[in-house]
Symmetry: C2
Subunit: 342 residues, 2 copies
DNA sequence: CATTGCTCCGCTCATCTGAGCGGGCTACTC
DNA sequence: GAGTAGCCCGCTCAGATGAGCGGAGCAATG
């Protein structure tokens, strides 16, 4: 009398797996609750939960997420894991060229904000070309509070000042605007300190302590690749380059390995690294070509929680060699830990 | 300034879908809870739930269940839907031939019982070749109560009587056995009534009112295809054939369309159709060749909740033409109704 | 304007679900 | 054959979840 090697009701037997499969079907596909399934089968709901686990353990259940075609899910996930981000979105631009990428990123971020911002939010807004494009795309009534993150005066290639951008967004979304007039950085720390305590500016800067979100764009420390770089004197630029500046966020500088550089900080009128770090959700936009190093540096700073970029840029960032130095490799997000597990 | 047709944050926009996709990934793949996701994103948990729904609605989430290779998931589902069963298992036999199929079905059912039966269960056991094979395969300590469903005396091709089978299973599983000695059917109703009220039999039959499960095999009304058929006199057989008998379950007869035939019922010593219908889980085993009509008839009776069969038989049953007559088509189980839905 | 119908949102409440616990059984060990 | 390690089970309880509700904003309409 030939007998199968595995005992009939043992875990891993055909009956068990078959049962697990049908239970999984009812739960995942038909959407029945575990209690319902348990009643139908005449077993305890715990049994059902365990059958569900064994179904997962034996690979009987496969769940696939297919992001919309205009989003590169694979690279998004790769970026997220590599830099320990909370979210990463790699947009597939519809138009070519640097501007196409920037527009796609800005538009996507606009949609993201419309989706995610609530009236309770205090949203900090940086200044730059991408943000300027973004400001044209937000329409939904968010009724939040929009706060200018740093000083900035108009430049030839960006028609609007930081103040204009904040006001534009606030108006379009029925939000309140908190702005102040100041340059991004001033020649010396004392002047900066003076400006910071100046009435009208101090109140605005105080808001930076209660930010719930911040929208910034990642600048690369090179001519034309960073609003901060372009706003400074040649002497400053060189000094900061020598100090190791690589990435810039709202006037804050970071080295290749992501360490915050203090050199410019005391002369900047705007949000501080600490304030940004305390902000629950920091959304960074990265676009352009040849600035991958800057993006990587900014992401290593740990300040950014959400990244929005486009395919070309994402590819460049991911193709960058992993930095050899520093402490051990970072833990790459967190390994997948399914809830229902022993 | 070209604008995309769909507004940025509108439902169905890229940002919304992208967000829905990442939320879905975190929920389904990483196993995060909705509350966690909501906290991370800075939105309400309801928002997360809705994003999850839109992800499903837009087909961003695909969940596939892969039953073990030794089970034909497709036919199982087809049978289940066609006959409105609660579960159907189509086993892929390892050995060929009629006996191979029967053994596979019996062994699978044995495993199913080990998996599903609890000490609170009162399990009714029919009599037949398949159940006889099954009784050799149940080993796990179920500590339930095993009740004989119908009378039956030994026959040349089945070494054991119904009593033997019940005792064997009870012993192997540490369960109590409730049995009685009687033939399956007697020549007239009065004799049957007498037997039913006889001490020793009456007590056993009383248990049929509190059955929680029943294990039966489906017989086809033809020579050698039904224990009942073979136990009766030629005259009885012909009369019942004329009455439209097609399928048999524990001595209970059904017509092609699934209606219970009263003709033999009053001369049978065993469970009644009503009692079987009240039993929460009726597991029917179907195997063999050329008895598809009987299986279909039995399934149409609505008595069976769980079906176990093998590929060849399942194919034959599914290839049967749908019955044209009777009321409208039956509702085919129930349409998939995912929990999270508007 | 007021009305109506729509959509989107977050709340409340009852139900469902997960984590962890201890009892009972098995199988192995000395 | 007593000990014990491992397992499977169902319970309890806090926390997560779904269904349904009503309010707010918006648009088309009378």
């Amino acid at each position: 009398m030939a007998r199968t090697p595995a005992r009939a009701g043992a875990p891993g037997s055909v009956s068990t797996l078959a049962l697990a499969a049908t239970v999984a079907r009812r739960f995942h596909v038909e959407g029945m609750t575990k209690v319902e399934i348990a009643r139908q089968l005449g077993v305890s709901r715990f049994k059902v939960a365990r059958l569900l686990s064994t179904a997962v353990d034996h690979g009987l259940v496969r769940i696939e997420i297919h992001p919309p075609a205009s989003l590169d899910g694979e690279m998004s996930e790769e970026l997220r894991a590599r830099f320990g981000l909370r979210s990463a979105f790699v947009v597939v631009p519809e138009e070519d060229g640097v501007d196409g990428g920037r527009r796609a990123v800005a538009r996507f971020t606009a949609g993201l904000l419309e989706e995610v911002v609530t009236p309770e939010d205090v949203v900090g807004l940086a200044w730059g070309r991408t943000i300027s494009v973004l400001s044209a795309g937000v329409r939904a009534p968010l009724h939040c509070r929009c706060v200018q993150l740093s000083g900035a005066l108009p430049r030839p290639d960006v028609r609007e000042s930081a103040v204009d951008v904040v006001h534009r967004i606030a108006e379009a979304t029925g939000s309140s605007a908190v702005t102040f007039y100041a340059p991004l950085a001033v020649p010396d720390a004392a002047t900066a300190e003076g400006l910071r305590s100046q009435s009208g500016i101090a109140e605005a800067l105080a808001e930076h302590d209660s930010l719930t979100r911040a929208v910034v764009s990642i600048g690369y420390w090179a001519a034309g690749e960073s609003t901060a770089y372009d706003s400074l004197s040649p002497a400053d630029r060189d000094a900061l380059t020598a100090a190791g500046a690589c990435a810039e966020l709202t006037g804050l500088l970071f080295g290749v390995d992501g360490t915050a550089l203090p050199d410019l900080a005391d002369r900047v009128v705007g949000v501080t690294v600490e304030q940004l770090r305390r902000t629950p959700d920091v959304i960074a936009m990265a676009s352009g070509l040849g600035r991958a190093l800057g993006t990587a540096a900014a992401l290593r700073s740990g300040v950014v929680s959400t990244l929005v970029t486009h395919t070309t840029h994402a590819r460049q960032v991911l193709d960058l060699p992993e930095p050899a130095p520093r402490a051990a490799r970072r833990p790459a997000a967190r390994p997948s830990r399914p809830r229902r597990s022993p």
